[in-house]
């Protein structure tokens, strides 16, 4: 089993990254802040205006360490990529499958079914843990949403075209985010959820979700590149220049499990507070530097948690699930597996 390697997050202002021997060194204000051997790393994520030396970029490209530059809000800006690697036959198989609806629809169906099923599991867990605190009408709405998500998952599993599946995905999102606020049972007034909004997020919960999705996207992209797939050619998401469509596809089934649950936990436990966010003049909300640190620590801790993979039957760190799914997808593309087994959380 592959070892879960670490990711370095650089959040200090004006940091400079350089390579020293086989170490990555983080400097700020001319002083060394930290160092880590490259072989222990899987990714480097830089926020703010972090610079990196060309020698470090080359070393990261060579060792397949994903080095990305993000805005402080977590929006992707740039990444360093080495020579195209991986198995060209696998990538060709991926393109052929993406062009052939009869073979890509089953994959998309699996992804969206798993997403709806995982959203339902998030609701069920919230209902089981905190259901008694809900008032009767709220509880009723909750149970309705749970039943509807179950129905959507079942109907998606029988859908024939991508457009129909996309419709089900939208419906599932509406149902799920319609009751999302009710799962924030211990949240103060400022940390309520008023419907999904992004670019920019208009409330604090949305800002937190968007940030977590950006982190998950980074990990999914690394996972796909790690197995030699092309992260830009997706099945559910259509090709668009610069968009990592396959990484977005892979994220769908993992969002509820890895990101949404973590957001709920952090808010309900009071680990993140209203003061960890800033509101700018236009009403866009983002995390403060301290808030970002809190989220990144919680995110890294969560990735280390073990779970049992439903298809492989092995226990694995949550942070490895994206890699395992990427590997299962490549096995399907190569023809070693009859279908793509999406990740359905139990």
């Amino acid at each position: 089993m592959r070892r879960l390697l670490n990711t370095i997050y650089v959040t200090s202002e004006d940091a400079w990254l350089r390579k020293d021997g086989e170490n990555l060194v983080v400097e700020a204000d001319g002083k060394e802040r930290g160092r880590a051997p490259l072989h222990a790393l899987e990714g480097v994520v830089c926020f703010n205006r972090t610079g990196a030396s060309p020698a470090l970029m080359a070393a990261c490209a060579e060792k397949a360490i994903t080095l990305s530059f993000l805005t402080p809000e977590g929006r992707f800006q740039a990444r360093v990529e080495g020579a195209q690697t991986g198995n060209v036959l696998l990538r060709r198989a991926q393109y052929r499958m993406a062009d052939d609806p009869s073979r890509s629809v089953p994959i998309v169906r699996g992804i969206v079914t798993a997403k709806a099923a995982n959203q339902r599991t998030v609701l069920l867990r919230a209902l089981r843990d905190h259901g008694e605190k809900l008032e009767t009408p709220q509880r009723k709405a909750f149970e309705d949403a749970e039943a509807r998500l179950g129905r959507i998952a079942r109907r998606t599993a029988e859908a024939e075209t991508i457009d129909v599946i996309r419709g089900f995905e939208g419906e599932a999102a509406n149902v799920y985010f319609g009751v999302f606020d009710a799962m924030l049972h211990a949240a103060p007034r400022e940390l309520r959820f008023g419907g999904r909004s992004r670019r920019p997020p208009l409330d604090r919960v949305n800002a937190l979700l968007s940030f977590l999705y950006a982190m998950l996207g980074h990990d999914c992209r690394s996972a796909l590149e790690g197995v030699g797939l092309d992260p830009q050619v997706g099945f559910l998401h259509t090709d668009r220049p610069g968009r990592a469509s396959l990484a977005l596809d892979l994220m769908e089934e993992l969002r509820p499990v890895l990101a949404d649950r973590l957001a709920l936990t952090m808010i309900n436990r009071g680990q993140i507070k209203a003061r960890d966010f800033v509101v700018d003049a236009g009403g866009a909300i983002s995390l403060t530097e301290d808030g970002r640190k809190l989220v990144l620590i919680a995110w890294q801790e969560r990735k280390k948690r073990e779970l049992r993979h439903p298809f492989l039957g092995e226990s694995a760190a949550m942070g490895l699930v994206a890699h395992l799914q990427a590997r299962l997808l490549s096995r399907h593309l190569r023809g070693d597996l009859d279908g793509y087994p999406p990740f359905i959380w139990r």
């Binding site: 997050y9 930290g34 280390k304």
Partner: protein
């Protein structure tokens, strides 16, 4: 697996300080300095073979010594640290 590498390189013999520097460099490439000539290295077996060979090639066996302690996969639990020189937990969240 976690390996503890310690060395004693004689700097009085010719080329000693060069060997010392190069041994330290090799250890630093694979691990973390926890005391002056003590390194903790989290490596997989293949990396360990490479590090070990590199260290043995650097030293002068008549003058210097190397000691390797195999702390195993659960090595972290066998370590207790007291006092100054705090070390970084390379498996923990890395935020700078």
């Amino acid at each position: 697996m976690l390996m503890l590498v310690t060395y004693d390189v004689s700097t009085s013999s010719p080329g000693g300080s060069r060997r010392l520097r190069r041994v330290a460099r090799a250890c630093l490439d694979f691990g973390q300095r926890v005391q002056n000539s003590v390194f903790e290295c989290e490596v997989d077996p293949a990396q360990w073979v490479a590090l070990r060979a590199r260290l043995i090639a650097e030293i002068d066996e008549k003058e210097d010594s190397l000691r390797f302690y195999r702390l195993g996969a659960e090595g972290k639990r066998r370590i207790e640290h007291i006092g100054a020189k705090p070390v970084l937990d390379l498996d923990g969240p890395l935020l700078f």
